[in-house]
Symmetry: C2
Subunit: 113 residues, 2 copies
């Protein structure tokens, strides 16, 4: 990663317009894309303040500390925001596997045309 | 990437339930996460059949061949699907920059707590 620009700490996501934004988790050491989940304002604030990835579970309608039960925590190295302020990139040190299936990455299946 | 499982070609996304799914584009050579956009069934089919990343523009309500006007095409190396069948990973050879700002990646800004 050679990109080092900083956004203002007052994150510019318009939470009233987009209460949930997608967050991509990428492994810091390998670059592997691990998973995609959703984040609300509280989940992002917890991620930034605690240093571990938090998401918002749409099915459980609740904040979710990734790895809280499995132990497969994601230690945050960086949080990045996209040009449109409506997607996040969590660069993490993944403990154990990211996927509940036991695979390292949730993107473990190829599809073809 | 050491993950080589194949999903059936009949992609299991339930398009009636999730007409748009997020797709993450990752650079094949560097592993950099380039952008996140949305894909409908037709965009995915075009991506798989043409070999270049297509998305669905929510603002223009239309299929979008990435780079059609800018020339910054994304040549598909792999398409991966996540464990829940509701997110895609496009692994691409990025021609030029992915971001309309002129940055290589849309995720060019860090945020902090």
């Amino acid at each position: 990663m050679d990109l080092n620009k900083s956004a203002p700490n007052d994150v510019s996501i318009d939470w009233s317009k987009t209460p949930l934004v997608p967050a991509v988790a990428q492994e810091y050491y390998t670059g592997e894309v691990l998973m995609l989940a959703y984040v609300n304002e509280e989940a992002l604030n917890l991620t930034l303040s605690k240093g571990y990835a938090h998401y918002f579970s749409r099915s459980r309608n609740a904040i979710w500390l990734k790895g809280e039960t499995s132990g497969n925590l994601q230690k945050i190295r960086e949080v990045r925001i996209d040009c449109d302020d409506d997607a996040l990139l969590y660069i993490v040190e993944q403990q154990g596997n990211a996927c509940h299936t036991g695979e390292l990455s949730c993107f473990y299946r190829k599809i073809s045309g």
